[in-house]
Symmetry: C2
Subunit: 332 residues, 2 copies
């Protein structure tokens, strides 16, 4: 059943949205309801800007992803970009092109998922745009962040000899997606963990801020398209290569280690952090940041190959196999 | 003919984009190519944030709007929001969901239109997101602006007795769209002007800054959905009503004055400014700002009706008839 007239007018929808946003968070002068939002950036800080789209059929599927997860994931993508710079997320704009097949329940549930995550990260939704479309539903989530001037971490700072670290366990989101797609009953704790990683990823903002504020990392980015694709980008930006040690990579606990390694290397959407640390300060990286384990998985090498040392000491060359929208479109 | 593999990869596309953006504009620390952009906001200024979507089939039609106009209009919508706050636009993020039916020529032409307008307004494209979609093409253009602290103009400041002003000539964009849809040959200068107003609107940023910096206006917004709808919003935000004088409204030069007035009242996408000025300072509003004529079209009245005084001194009540995405969807 289509519930078309979910909100009678944009004014109704905007009124509904405004009721769900904090009245006057710090730094906000003017929120939803005018031509634009007005905010302040504290002195001595730089402003971080990022935008990430979530499109039905591309980034999520209505039959696999509950609306709460769609909203959560849409915001998590942008929060993870702020984390990757070492910043503190502050404000969000949400542009929503709502499919005319989606009803009020879907819309309010998606926003509930998004608002719940926003609250946990102290992020206020201050604006955006809304339209109804005949096409797939699309969310574009723009997040602003703050970082003390000069402290933001980039992809381009890695030097030969730096140690390569990742947070969390890689490949969990791809595994979770695989389990959801299989339709098999989910019983084991690791299956539930994988599905949770996929549906409700937790951006590593606190870790990113810690690394930036203590000058610990030389380069950083978030793992959104898979380690093989993202490490390639970090290496290209820094003009370096890399060597990974297969048995140091935190892989999912699967019976088949090869499958698990493949997921960890090429699975996307983990929203963990990938960062490099000068050898001289690598000892200052703790084994855990809060509950998040940190792993040294290899070393930055001269340009430009990325190689993988297997447990039996073979050297393989890693080719990026992560997600690329243009490449996918060209294949199909 | 579909030209699918327009760009082989996102990296190719991002490289192409980066070549077309200025290297180091003032205030930009880090542009396209990292996880997020980094910018600075000058001290004593507030940051303005706005996002506007342009969706194929909703905001533009491939058979009516050349790609250069699609790009131009997409950015113009957001620039006009910055103008409406009295701000100076600075940086843009572009999120593009490109239909897999659109080729490289369309894409590069749309960006050419957008970049040309960006250059005229000193705006740098510093980031965004890109995906390929099976649905309609969608652009979400996010623009940041700056305004001296406390000087931004809102919709909510209008007081009873204030004079109501508009810039430019209203209804021109709606007239241009009508002419394009009619398919009739375009010969007369006013026809060309109307079509140009529709395809390549000029946001009134300089006028907005002038009014904000000289404390001339009590409230301001841009005319994107039509005077009847937008004045209703300004009046609601300010808790007031309004009285318009029909023969003071700058209407298109059509043979039928009623048609022309209808376009001026209810036609959208003019991207002119609507602002209110205290009676005591109304004389300080010039008749022209540069080449842009300014018109006093009425007066703010007690809440809540918006009335129109006709040339033969009748009083009509104006109901908003501008564009509302949710209301449209509910009708169809």
């Amino acid at each position: 059943m289509r519930e078309k007239s979910s909100f009678k007018s944009e004014t109704d929808f905007v009124t509904w949205l405004r009721r769900r946003t904090p009245r006057r968070p710090k730094g906000l002068t003017l929120g939803i309801g005018d031509d634009a939002a007005l905010v302040t950036v504290p002195s001595g800080h730089e402003l971080i800007l990022t935008a990430d789209m979530s499109i039905e059929g591309v980034h999520f599927k209505s039959d696999l992803h509950p609306p709460e997860a769609v909203g959560h994931r849409a915001l998590a993508r942008s929060l993870s970009d702020i984390a990757a710079m070492g910043g503190t997320p502050r404000f969000a704009l949400i542009s929503l092109a709502l499919s005319n097949n989606a009803g009020k329940v879907w819309l309010t549930s998606a926003y509930a998922g998004l608002f719940a995550l926003a609250k946990r990260f102290g992020v206020s939704v201050v604006g955006g745009d809304t339209a109804i479309t005949n096409g797939p539903t699309m969310l574009d989530v723009i997040v602003t962040g703050e970082v003390p001037r000069g402290r933001a971490l980039r992809r381009s700072g890695a030097k030969v000899g730096d140690h390569i670290f990742v947070s969390g366990r890689l490949g969990m989101s791809a595994l979770g997606l695989h389990l959801l797609q299989s339709g098999a009953p989910i019983q084991k704790p690791w299956e539930k963990a994988a599905i949770r990683s996929h549906l409700f990823p937790h951006p590593q903002c606190a870790l990113g801020q810690f690394l930036a504020q203590h000058h610990l990392a030389s380069a950083m980015m978030d793992l959104s398209d898979g380690l093989s694709a993202d490490l390639r980008r970090l290496c290209d930006a820094s003009g370096v290569g890399a060597r990974l040690l297969a048995d140091q990579i935190p892989i999912p606990a699967l019976p088949d280690r090869k499958d698990a390694l493949r997921l960890a290397l090429h699975g996307g959407e983990d929203y963990q952090l990938l960062f490099t640390v000068p050898a001289s300060t690598a000892a200052r990286i703790p084994s855990h940041f809060g509950k998040v384990p940190l792993y040294c998985i290899g070393e930055i090498r001269p340009p430009k190959a990325i190689s993988l040392i297997t447990p039996d000491d073979k050297t393989l060359t890693i080719e990026p196999q992560g997600w690329d929208h243009f490449a996918r479109a060209a294949q199909h």
